[in-house]
Structure formats: C-alpha cells, structure tokens
C-alpha cells in the first residue's frame, strides 16, 4: 500500500471510528454472536454423544443439551439481527455524512467548477460512488470482523494441536497475501477506470437528457444513441476488465487454501506415521495422533473459509476504494477562497461601487478585461452595452465576486470586496439573469426564494408587479402549482417573469439585471417597467440589456468593447459622440 491508499483507508476508518459508540457494541455483538453459534455445535456434539452412549440413549442429557442449543441459536439469531441493524445504522450515518460533506463542498466551490464538470458526473459521485462505499460498509465490514474472529480462533487451536503443521501456513498464507497484493496493484487502476468511465457515462446521459427536445427536433436520436452507446461500451468494457482480472482473485486464493489443506494432509499423514512407528515419540514436537490430524484439518478448513470469503469480497473492496478516492477528491477540492480572516460584513450599504483599473481573465493565459475603471454612485443606474462577448457578463461575475480580479480592485462603499464577507456582499445584490433558474417546487416557493420568510401576500404582490399573477391565478392550483423540469406548462418568458418576481421580493440595496427581460414580450415589458422602476428606485443598478429603451434612461451608459470601456456617459452625450452607441441606437430604426 502506498501513502495515498493508506490515507484513503485511514479516512474511511475515521468515519467508522467517529461512531465508536455504535461500532464498539457492533464488535462486541460480532464476538458474542459468533461465540454462540460456535457453542451450538459443541452442545450438539454432547447430545450426540449421549445418544450414542453404550448404555442406551441418555434422555436427560439429550434434553439438557437440546435446550441449551435452542437458547444459543435463538440468542445468536437475535444478536445477528441486532448486529445487522446496527451496521445499517452506522453505514447510513456515514453515508449521510459523506453525502452532506460532498454537497456542502459543492456549494462552496467556485462557480467555474460547474462549467468544467458535467452535472451527471457530479451526480455519479454523490449517488453511485457513495452507494458503493455504503454497501461495503454495511455488509463487508461485519464479514471481515467475523472472519478475523474465526481466523484467530482457529489459528490458536491449530497451534495447540501441532506446531510443525502450521509451517504449511507459513508458506501458503504469505503466498496468498503476496498474490493478493500483486493482483490488487494490477487491478486497482482498472477499478479506478471503471468508476471514472461510469461517471463519464452518467455525465453524457445527463447532458443529452437535458437536450432531449432539441435532439428530437433534429431527429438525432439515433446519432446521439450511437454516441451514448460508444461511451456505454467504454464504461462496460472498463467494468468487464475489472471483473475479468478481478475474477482470478477469489478462485486463486481458494486454490491456495485448498493447496494448504492438501499439503497438511500429506505432511500430517507422514507425521502421524512417524509418530506411529516411534520416530516421533509422544511429547515431542512432531508427535500427532489420528484425531489430531482430523481436528487440524477441520480447523484449517475453518481457517480457510473466511480467507476465501475475504478474497471474494476484495473486489467489492476495491471498487469501494476507488469510489472513496473519487468522493474524497471532491471533498478535498479547493473551495472559493476563504473570506480573509479579518473580513467584515458589509453593513448599511450605500451602494457606491468602484472598479479601479480591473484586469481579469478566467485563465491566466487569456485576459478578458483590460483595465476597467468606473464608478457607480449610490442609487444610480449604470447600463453596460457592447457587442456580445465583450465581457459584460464577466463584469457581473466580478461584482458578485464569483471570481477575484487579477489586478486592480472592485470596491463597494470604498471597501475592497476581497475584505468583505462573501455572504454580506452577495446579500447586498439582487440579480435577475437571462438564464431563468427555477427548481422543482411550487411557484410560491420559487418566488419566496428571494427572501426568507416571505408571506403569501408579499409573494402575490411581487407576482402582480411582475405581471405574472394573472397567469398564476389561472392555473388550477394557483401558487401551489409545481413547476416541472421540462416545463411544458410554462413558457420561457413566464419563467423569466417568475424570476423577476423573485427579485422584487428581495430587499437588497443593489440590483443586477443581466438581460432580465430578454424573453418577455415588449408589451408585458412596458407593463412591468413601472414595477421595475419602483424596484430600481434608490438602488444602485447594473443593467445589461439589448433593448435600448431599457438603457437610454440610465444615469450612465458604458460601452464595452473587447474588454475595454470605449464610451461612457448618458444617452444624450453618447448620441452626440456619434460612436458605437449612436450607431447601435440608430440601427433599430433601419
């Protein structure tokens, strides 16, 4: 085992040990339940002896032993059940914690993580991988504890019967261990690949399912089906490879065990004959009786059983191991940079936002913004226009501190955003995006999402202001209508109105509107304009829009081209300039 594997094992152990108050009873239960089930045969032996007694069947002894057996077996069953239940509780507690950790880590990651990691693969981590760990914890751990118990017990018995015969194990057990180690080293990458490929497959499935309608519109089901199939084949091949090479393990260890029994038989037979013809007199190291040989063989079979079992579940173990590796990788993923230790909460927000010579690129090799400087005075509206891809949305990302600037600074009320807590900074903004994100829940829940504890009245008022209340009320279940994934019952424009209502209900001091009404028809837009104006009143606003009607009333318009501010001023000033803005403005009347 190298260091990484030891780390994984140790971390898994730590999860188990965290529930020591459950785990210790589990160990004790394992001990007693095994001990009891071993006692059973002992009593049955005595009972049979009593049956076979020369003087005829000794009924009282038989009865005595039968009662004891019954007690043992029933108790053992009860304990086994308790143990199984306990293990389910432990494993579920661990799995719960892991899922929680993964999820909470996910929400703390920089937003860019989700651009580069397919949702399906993330889901694969949290479902398939953790599931694999779960089944290993719930079933295989008990198995191993039981095995350990039996192995040690039988070893002690064998030691007492004949030390020379144990020598056989000195050869075969290390052989088994070496073999397993050698194999698992070869097989481990295969299991890792299997987890990864399955994750990729899930990622692809997720992505394509979300594009289901478009695929149908172009009748591309077959082509996409083929491509899925290629990944499917890949994943199944990886699965098969792991199975194929893993398949050697169980039978081979089994063989090594059988081999040792055969060798014991041969060696034991020879020792017995030596003992018989006096070459190994009683009391010496090599002496053995026939009964001794028989018992030794019995114990060595007992000894072999768990080892076989162990070899068989080893492959389960390995998949659990590579699953754990993947899970830990997410848990260890670098989160958004911690707030600095002396970060202060943004309070009593005035709403003055300053960009000072901001340079930024998502990757170090490609700069998107080259030295942006601008100031938004409290309560004013700043409109950002420019060709698509000029960096408008990037500016929004910096405002919200989804990313940190490469150089320069972004300040709110004169404080560098890097010195503020993220939570307070983001709380100071309300954002309406072109991408309308709604979750599966009632319309009420989706609107109330904007502010904790919003009442139905407030939600209704917001919906009214966003001109969506009429539509909502026309639905059979009104505000309790559950929004579905594909949303056949609601158009994109309506979805956007709901997100606007969500923004209206929030009470932040600053507002970001990124193409907030792009899917809303212009008449409705004019109707909600009043409410929007109300919403914008007294708040610092950043507006990205292509509708010039939204822009021309802004206190200040900034033209962004190729990551640089090329024009800046109010509508009249920019029109007078005769530059990009005026051309853009006039183009709508051509």
């Amino acid at each position: 085992m190298n260091k990484i594997q030891k780390d994984i094992l140790w971390r898994l152990c730590k999860y188990v040990l965290h529930y020591w108050y459950l785990f210790i009873p589990a160990v004790i239960l394992t001990f007693f339940s095994n001990q009891l089930s071993l006692l059973g045969p002992k009593y049955s032996g005595s009972a049979i002896d009593a049956i076979a007694a020369e003087s005829g069947v000794a009924f009282d002894i038989v009865r005595y032993n039968v009662v004891r057996m019954l007690v043992c077996y029933v108790l053992s069953a009860v304990m086994a059940y308790l143990l199984a239940t306990l293990m389910i509780f432990i494993s579920q507690k661990i799995v719960y914690t892991m899922r929680k950790q993964v999820f909470e880590k996910l929400t703390s990651l920089p937003v860019g993580y989700f651009d580069t990691h397919p949702t399906g693969d993330i889901i694969s981590h949290i479902s398939y991988d953790i599931d694999t760990i779960n089944s290993t914890l719930a079933h295989d751990l008990v198995q191993i504890m039981t095995s350990l118990y039996t192995v040690i017990g039988s070893l002690i018995f064998m030691w007492n019967i004949s030390k020379p015969l144990i020598v056989v194990f000195v050869i075969t057990v290390p052989a088994a261990i070496l073999f397993t180690r050698y194999r698992s080293k070869r097989v481990r990458p295969l299991f890792r690949k299997r987890s990864r490929k399955l994750g990729e497959l899930n990622g692809y499935a997720e992505e394509m399912l979300s594009g289901c309608r478009s695929i149908q519109a172009y009748a591309r089901e077959d082509v996409i089906g083929e491509r899925f199939q290629a990944r499917n084949t890949d994943a199944m091949d990886a699965h098969y490879d792991a199975d194929y090479y893993g398949a050697i393990m169980g039978p081979t260890v089994n063989f090594i065990n059988n081999l040792s029994i055969s060798l014991i038989m041969i060696l034991g037979g020879i020792l017995y004959m030596l003992s018989q013809n006096g070459m190994a007199p009683e009391g010496t190291l090599f002496f053995i009786t026939l009964g001794g040989v028989a018992q030794f063989v019995q114990y060595s079979r007992k000894f072999a059983g768990p080892i076989n079992e162990f070899a068989n579940i080893l492959s389960e173990f390995q998949s659990a191991f590579s699953a754990a590796e993947r899970v830990f990788r997410i848990i260890d993923e670098e989160p958004e940079k911690e707030d600095v230790s002396d970060a202060v909460a943004l309070e009593a927000v005035q709403g003055k936002v300053t960009f000072e010579d901001v340079v930024f690129g998502y990757t170090p090799d490609k700069e998107i913004l080259h030295g942006i400087s601008m100031t938004a005075e409290p309560g004013k509206t700043i409109a950002i226009v420019g060709p698509t891809g000029a960096g408008k949305t990037t500016i929004i990302s910096l405002l919200m501190r989804f990313y940190d600037v490469t150089s320069g600074s972004v300040k709110v009320d004169g404080k560098d955003v890097r010195e503020l807590t993220r939570k307070s900074l983001r709380k100071a903004y309300t954002m309406v995006l072109q991408d309308t994100w709604l979750f599966r829940g009632t319309i009420f829940e989706n609107i109330a999402y904007g502010r904790e504890g919003a009442t139905l009245e407030e939600v209704k008022a917001a919906a009214k202001a966003a001109r969506i209340d009429h539509y909502i009320e026309s639905l059979p279940e009104g505000y309790d209508t559950v929004l579905t994934d594909d949303g056949i019952n609601i158009s994109k424009g309506q979805r956007q109105l709901i997100t606007i209502a969500r923004a209206m209900i929030s009470d932040s001091e600053m507002l970001i509107l990124d193409e907030a009404t792009s899917n809303v028809d212009s008449r409705t837009e004019i109707k909600i304009q009043e409410a929007m104006t109300e919403l914008m009143k007294g708040r610092t606003c950043f507006v990205i829009a292509h509708r010039l009607s939204t822009i021309q009333n802004a206190d200040r318009i900034i033209v962004l081209q190729d990551g640089r501010i090329t024009e800046s001023g109010n509508h009249d000033e920019l029109m007078g300039l005769g530059g990009f803005y005026s051309t853009l403005y006039n183009s709508q009347f051509q």
Partner: protein, 573 residues
C-alpha cells in the same frame, strides 16, 4: 424481472456453458472433503506413497476447480456486461424518444437514475447470480437428496421447515420490493436537488442561499437514509430468521433422533452424518437468502426500467387512409387547429392559415399567447386536438419521423448546447461538410466571433455552453438550424439576445441566402418580423390579426401597440 429474463434470453447458450463449467468446478471442489475423509479413514497409517498420491490428487482437484471458477466467472462477467450494455442502450434510446409529456411524468432526474443506478443494480445482480447461483443450489439439492436417502423420517423435519422458510421469503419480498422502490424514488429526489443546484449555482450564490440549499438537500438526504434504513432493517431480518429456522431444525433432528435411536430405528452414525449435511444445507441456505436480498433490490430497479421501456410511444405515424392528403398548393397549411395541453382550456384555438413555399411568416404575441405551442404542433411534439396540419398537402401525422424532421431546421427557446466543439454543435451529428457548417455560421452572423477564438471552429464549449454569451449561443443555434439546408426554417424567439445591429444583419443575410426556404419567425420584436410576407398576431391562443406589417398597423390595435412600444414609444420617452 420478466424484462430482465427477456434480455438474457440470447445469452442462454453462453450462460448454460458458463454455468456448466461452474457446476463442474463446484463438483470437483466438493470432491475434496470426500478425499479428505477417505484419507483419514482408509489411507492414513498404511502406505506413505498412497498419502502422497491422494494428496496430489487433492491438489489437482483444487487446481481444476480454481481454473473452472475463473473461466466461469469471466464468462459470467461477459454475459452480464453485454446484458447491461444492451439494456442501457435500449433504455437510453427509449428515453430519448419519450414525448415531452412522458418525460415530464417520469421527470429527468428519475430517468437519469434509471439509466445509471437502476441499470447498475440489475447488472450487479445478473453478474452475482451467475457467480453465486450455482454452488448453493447444488449443495442445497444434493444435501436434501442425500438426507432423504439416509433417513426419510428425519428429513421430514427439514421438509416441515421449508414452508416456514417460504412463507418468510414471501412475506419479506412482498414488503421488500416496494421498500426498495421507495429507496430509488428517494434517490431520484436527491439527484434532483444536486442537479438543480449544479445548474443554478450562480443564482444560489448570488442570493446567498447556500444555507437554504443545504437544508433542502438535508431533507432529501435524510429521507433517503430513512428509506434505506427501513429497507435494510426489514431485509436484515432474512438472514437471522433463516439461520434460526435451520438451526432449530437441527435441534429437532437431534431430539427426534434420540427417540428413534432409543427405539432402534436409527443409529448414532446416521445422526452424525445427518447433522453434517444439515450444516451444509443451512450454509447453502444462507447464500440463497443473500441472493434473495439482492434479487429484491434489483427487482425494484428492474421494475423501474421496465416502466420506461414499456412506455408506448404516444406519437406514432398514422395511416394515409385515416388522415387524407389535402388538396392545396401551400407549403404549410394549418387547417382550423385547436389544441390543449391538459385537456381543459384550449391553448390554441381555431388556428387557420396557409404559407407558400419560400414564404416568410412572422408570429408575434405576448408571453404565454401560444406562439411556441404553435411551433411545437407544427413539429409534431404534440398532436393537434382538432383540425390538421399539412406540409405539401400531407397531414403531418402520416409523415415518418425522419422525413418530417429532416424538413425542419429550428432554433428553439429551449436551447441545447453540449460540451463539444462549436463545429460539432452546429453539425449536431449530421453529415455536413465543414464548408456547409461555415456557410451556415456566416449567414447566422456567427463566423466572425467563432474565428476570433484561438481554436476557431474547434473551440470547445462547456456543458450548456456556459463559456459563451447568450447572443453567441443563439447564433450557434441558428447556424445549426441553417446547416441542414432545411425546407422550413423555424426561428423561435432565437434572436432575442442579439443586439439590433446583429439582428438586422442576420435578417438581411437570411433574405439573401434562403430564397427557397420557408421561414417562420417567432419574435417579440416587431423589427424581427416586419419584413415577413404576413404576420400572425396571437393572443391567448387565438389569431387576432393577420397580414403584412403595414396592414396590421392599420387594422390591428394590439399590433400597433406592440409596434409603438418598441419603436415610436422609444422616442417619446
């Protein structure tokens, strides 16, 4: 489970071979204890060479068993691999063909977990079944057969236990399958939250809702744990109960044996041997119960998969005799079409118009007025309620899917970009040359920004195209619609994120290059539709105005309002 067996049918031959090898290996391995007892009873103490001979024979048997097992396990792995591959392929294909209403019913997260975890459960089961399902039954059957021969009345004890075991199995499995079905449903719920949050991470962070989302996730996480514990605790009873039954049986054998021996009906040796077989049988029984637990779990998954596979396509190609051709010269004809999603209120009512080949149709109307629904009907995502839609005189219900969809190029509201190169996103799996891709991109005003990327057309998009702007997305989608050189081009609100200048350039290019293509533009901007041959104005599912821009300005109040709100209105303010 029936479905599983249907899929396994074609592997029966290979499975039989694999299982035979496994049986051979198991039998050889079962020889070992007999050789052992033979050595102990007859060989030991006589000839040294005999011991070695039998010992070596044991080794040979072990090696044979080992080899057989490896081969059989590998064959099992191959069968289950092929099985799972086919099953998942069919499941995915079926999923892609589900109609929107059907997808909505299943929900996407649920479909996703059916393709992934459920298929995996069944895969695992099929694999383990072949690996473990041989030895235990052999031991079980063999043991029972031998005990019957040894002492029939003692084996009656065992036969008396069997009904108890069957009743237990029956009762537990009756509860088990629904329990695991519930677990899988909770898995769906958990996946749903993860999926939603992965997609909405920006909004969640922007609203500082991470704590709330943690709570939301915690709910589904807890529910899943609760369901898993419940299923686990119920299924956990199987093993101890079975073991107890078998052990109590062995106690009964001894008690009964004592009487029989005392009456001289049996002898102690038989009882000893009987007990040993009994142990063997109960060991086998344990394995069988383990398989049974796996069966229960995978049966729940199999049921969920079968649900999807068994879903009838609700949109099928109809007979010409049923839906006759219409005698019309128009390219597209809507003949008094009405439609309702839920069967209550009509979402579209009495839509009637004809569009000539190469014609330009504009559709305008408020959010929720039925514009997109009209397009969905034309593309037959849903079937009309009343009336009929005809393309070149053929009722679209009688046109085979491939032929129907090949006519369209559409850029829709629900845009779909995926993590491939831009070129591939435009090509979208069709056989289209690079030149055609580039030509489409030029018309769609996308060429310029695409070539500005260092990798040009090979620029790789992130999932859902999050690394390009909204306007760029739309132009790639329009390029995709154009690249197939469709007879009917549908632009469903697909230039809303473009600035006016680009939008104007796009419309100009469309006019120049697509003279023979019938174009339907759904828009909210009057400027996007004003050059159309005629424009439909929709309100609450009805046509309230139809005509050219000028005609409508005169005749349709609503249209005039819309127009003024966008053009004249802008001046007044």
């Amino acid at each position: 489970m029936k479905m599983v067996f249907k899929y396994l049918e074609k592997y029966y031959g290979r499975m039989t071979l694999g299982l035979s090898i496994k049986v051979a290996g198991t039998l050889v391995e079962l020889l070992l204890p007999y050789i052992l007892s033979h050595i102990l009873a007859d060989v030991i103490g006589k000839e040294m060479s005999d011991i070695v001979f039998w010992g070596v024979l044991m080794i040979v048997c072990s090696a044979t068993a080992c080899l057989c097992n490896i081969i059989a396990n590998r064959m099992a792995a191959r069968v289950s691999r092929n099985f799972a591959e086919t099953l998942r392929r069919d499941l995915f294909r079926k999923t892609l063909r589900l109609s929107a209403a059907q997808t909505d019913k299943f929900t996407i997260p649920s479909l996703e977990s059916r393709i992934t975890t459920d298929t995996y459960n069944v895969h695992h089961f099929v694999n383990m079944m072949q690996r473990m399902g041989v030895r235990a039954p052999i031991l079980l059957m063999g043991g029972i057969a031998i005990t019957l021969f040894m002492d029939a009345s003692l084996s009656l004890v065992m036969i008396a236990i069997l009904p108890l075991i069957f009743i237990t199995v029956y009762l537990i499995s009756r509860n088990g399958v629904p329990l695991y079905t519930k677990v899988q449903r909770s898995v769906d719920g958990m996946i749903r939250v993860v999926r939603e949050d992965a997609q909405g991470i920006r909004v969640i962070k922007a609203l500082s809702k991470t704590d709330y989302e943690h709570k939301r996730y915690d709910e589904v996480n807890r529910k899943l744990v609760k369901d898993e514990v419940r299923a686990g605790v119920i299924m956990g009873t199987v093993n101890p109960v079975m073991t107890m039954f078998m052990n109590v049986g062995s106690v009964a054998v001894i008690a009964l044996g004592a009487f029989r021996v005392s009456k001289g009906l049996s002898n102690p040796e038989t009882i000893i041997a009987f007990m040993q077989y009994f142990t063997q049988i109960s060991m086998a029984m344990m394995t069988v119960t383990r398989m049974f637990v796996m069966y229960t779990k995978s049966a729940a998954s199999a049921k969920r998969i079968a649900e999807v596979l068994g879903t009838q396509e609700d949109i099928t190609v109809k007979e010409k005799s049923e839906y006759r051709n219409k005698d019309t010269k128009a390219h597209i004809c809507f003949d008094h079409v009405s439609f309702s999603y839920k069967g209550k209120r009509n979402n579209l009512e009495d839509i009637h118009f004809e569009l000539q080949k190469g014609g330009r149709l504009g559709i305008i109307g408020a959010t929720g007025s039925g514009k997109s629904t009209l397009i969905k009907l034309l593309m037959r995502f849903y079937d009309v309620g009343q009336g009929g839609i005809y393309i070149n005189g053929e009722d679209i219900r009688t046109i085979e899917k491939e032929r129907l969809y090949a006519m369209f190029g559409s850029a829709q509201q629900y845009d779909f970009l995926y993590s491939e190169s831009i070129e591939e996103n435009i090509r979208f799996g069709r056989e289209i040359s690079h030149e055609a891709v580039e030509e489409a991109a030029r018309i769609a005003q996308a060429h310029e920004f695409i070539t500005a990327f260092a990798e040009g057309y090979e620029h790789k998009l992130t999932p859902h195209g999050t690394n390009i702007s909204g306007g760029q997305k739309q132009r790639i989608l329009i390029s995709r619609a154009l690249a197939g050189k469709p007879e009917i081009l549908i632009l469903d609100d697909s230039s809303s994120a473009l600035d006016y200048k680009t939008d104007a350039a796009l419309r100009k290019a469309l006019g120049e290059h697509l003279k023979d293509t019938t174009v339907i533009t759904v828009a909210q901007r009057v400027s996007s539709v004003k050059d159309c041959d005629f424009i439909l104005v929709l309100e609450e599912g009805r046509i309230i105005g139809m005509g050219t821009h000028e005609e409508l300005l005169d005749a349709c109040v609503e249209y005039r309002e819309i127009s003024e709100s966008q053009m004249g209105g802008a001046f007044v303010e």
